[in-house]
């Protein structure tokens, strides 16, 4: 058992080496701070001002929390693209031939996005909502950051399954990532309650980790009992484990097929 864990840890670590190198090539601290973070904060303000437009301060507070939490969806979804970068880097053949578990490698390979999204989402939640009347008490801050971290990681687990599909259609990686990200934002309860949508959509939405993460953040803000917040976080983790298991199976199947028919090497 400990051998299995050590192998998984080593594989994830090897993925994170690529992840760190990619992130450094992508951003400097200046472009991350003044480019990427500012863009995401503008995204939260963009949606929040709709609440101002419709003239409902209570609804504005609802939107600003939803828009801030879904920042992590937009960022985690970048893993769909970065999973496909090995196609262009010429390393796909080596990965296909490698004896490591491809799913765990890809888990580590794009970890830069959930790591970055913990920072961006936390900043979005702590800085912007107070301008719209949401007040955090000091003891809520560490709980909030913890919930954000779990939401980012859980959403990343969901993204990995989508990324495994994009690996087969690498030219469509950005389209796949954007459509999924937008769909999740539509039904996640970020801008309108999940109950607004038809019943089948509400049921499907329960499979999305961010739905539970966002609900937990709203409960925390409303001062709900700890057990209610923890229960939603638990549902989120359960959903994340299911998505991760599906993603690992998907990567394993795609790579075992590629080893026999060379399908990833075209």
């Amino acid at each position: 058992m400990s051998d299995v864990i050590a192998t998984v840890a080593r594989t994830v670590h090897q993925g994170t080496v690529v992840s760190r190198a990619d992130f450094r090539a992508f951003y400097t601290w200046r472009t991350w701070l003044f480019g990427w973070l500012v863009r995401l904060l503008c995204q939260v303000l963009f949606y929040s001002t709709v609440g101002v437009l419709v003239g409902d301060p209570e609804y504005t507070r609802y939107i600003v929390l939803g828009a801030a939490v879904t920042v992590c969806v937009a960022e985690a979804m970048l893993a769909v693209s970065s999973t496909c970068w090995d196609h262009h880097g010429g390393t796909m053949g080596l990965l296909t031939a490698s004896p490591v578990s491809p799913g765990w490698f890809y888990f580590g390979r794009s970890l830069q996005w959930p790591a970055s999204s913990v920072a961006t989402t936390s900043v979005a939640l702590l800085v912007l909502p107070p301008f719209f009347g949401v007040q955090w008490t000091w003891w809520q801050v560490p709980v909030l950051v913890g919930l954000v971290a779990l939401t980012c990681l859980s959403t990343y687990c969901m993204t990995l399954l989508i990324a495994s599909v994009a690996l087969v259609f690498p030219e469509a990686r950005n389209v796949i990532g954007n459509i999924t990200s937008s769909l999740v934002i539509v039904v996640s309860g970020a801008m309108v309650p999940v109950e607004y949508w038809p019943a089948p959509v509400q049921w499907a939405a329960q499979a999305l980790p961010v739905v539970h993460g966002l609900a937990a953040v709203r409960l925390l803000e409303a001062g709900a009992p700890d057990v209610a917040v923890a229960a939603r976080a638990g549902w989120m983790l359960l959903a994340a484990v299911c998505w991760l298991a599906a993603a690992l199976s998907s990567f394993r199947w795609i790579f075992s097929r590629a080893r026999t028919d060379g399908s990833l090497l075209g």
Binding site: R39, C42, G51, E171, M191, V192
Partner: protein, 259 residues
């Protein structure tokens, strides 16, 4: 003037032909139904059906600007990758006119974008948008598309002259959507945020689009159209000047391969 017109015609024709098979085209259009659904659900949930047309205008303008950023950023890089850049620079046509022509061709993406937004509002939410002022609508669409292509030409010139500035390609979308009031008119923003927005052609275009879809009279149409076109013309002049100056220097120093 003749080389500019030739460049414009060649560029727009080439762009229309290549766009149909470009993934970037579908990238721009792919999220329109979801953006419309998010914005329209917010309007309808809050009981403001009178604002439903805002949720159709915004995704169309967002698609225009997204296409401008994507194509302005990728155009020169693609020319370089495909070995066309040196040939284009050596040819007698005006490079800025060629780029402007190509970006004007790219603006045709706004037609399916508007169609997708209208169809989503109608088919999913049962809210069919009425164009109350069709002439204003068509003129606003033309002026905004031209100004977008002109602004994208300026960005394209900036991306060639300062490759490091390409980082703005990923970051300019949301700040511009917010500051130009594509969904929330600038009148709802505080003055310090609304003032810079008035320098963006998109804010004047967005107001005109919204007015064209509302039953009341549209005021100062000519002046507002002129504001869109003037801001576009200024951007085009900046883009042409920057591109020409950079290419003159690149020719003299033989540094084009570093683009």
């Amino acid at each position: 003037m003749r080389t500019a017109l030739t460049g414009f015609a060649l560029g727009s024709g080439f762009q229309v032909r290549t766009m149909a098979r470009s993934v970037d085209t579908y990238y721009t259009l792919a999220t329109i139904p979801m953006t419309t659904a998010v914005l329209l659900s917010m309007m309808l949930y809050s009981g403001r059906t009178d604002l439903a047309s805002y949720a159709v205008v915004a995704p169309t303008l967002m698609a225009l600007w997204t296409a401008a950023l994507v194509f302005a950023g990728e155009m020169i890089a693609d020319d370089r990758k495909n070995g066309r850049l040196e040939l284009l620079v050596a040819s007698p046509v005006s490079p800025a006119a060629l780029v402007f022509g190509r970006l004007c061709g790219a603006m045709l993406v706004s037609l399916p974008a508007f169609g997708l937004a209208v169809a989503t509002a109608g088919l999913v939410f049962g809210h069919w948008v009425t164009v109350h002022h069709p002439v204003v609508f068509v003129l606003a669409a033309l002026a905004t598309a031209l100004a977008t292509a002109a602004t994208a030409t300026a960005l394209s010139a900036l991306f060639i002259a300062a490759p490091g500035s390409r980082i703005v390609q990923n970051t300019l979308s949301m700040p511009v959507f917010l500051l130009s009031g594509v969904v929330v008119p600038l009148a709802f923003l505080p003055l310090w945020a609304a003032a810079p927005g008035r320098l963006l052609y998109l804010s004047w275009g967005a107001d005109l689009f919204r007015d064209a879809l509302t039953p009341g009279p549209v005021e100062h149409t000519a002046a507002r159209l002129a504001a869109v076109l003037l801001l576009g013309a200024l951007a085009l002049a900046f883009g042409t000047h920057t591109m020409n100056r950079f290419l003159r220097r690149a020719r003299a120093e033989g540094s084009l391969s570093r683009v």
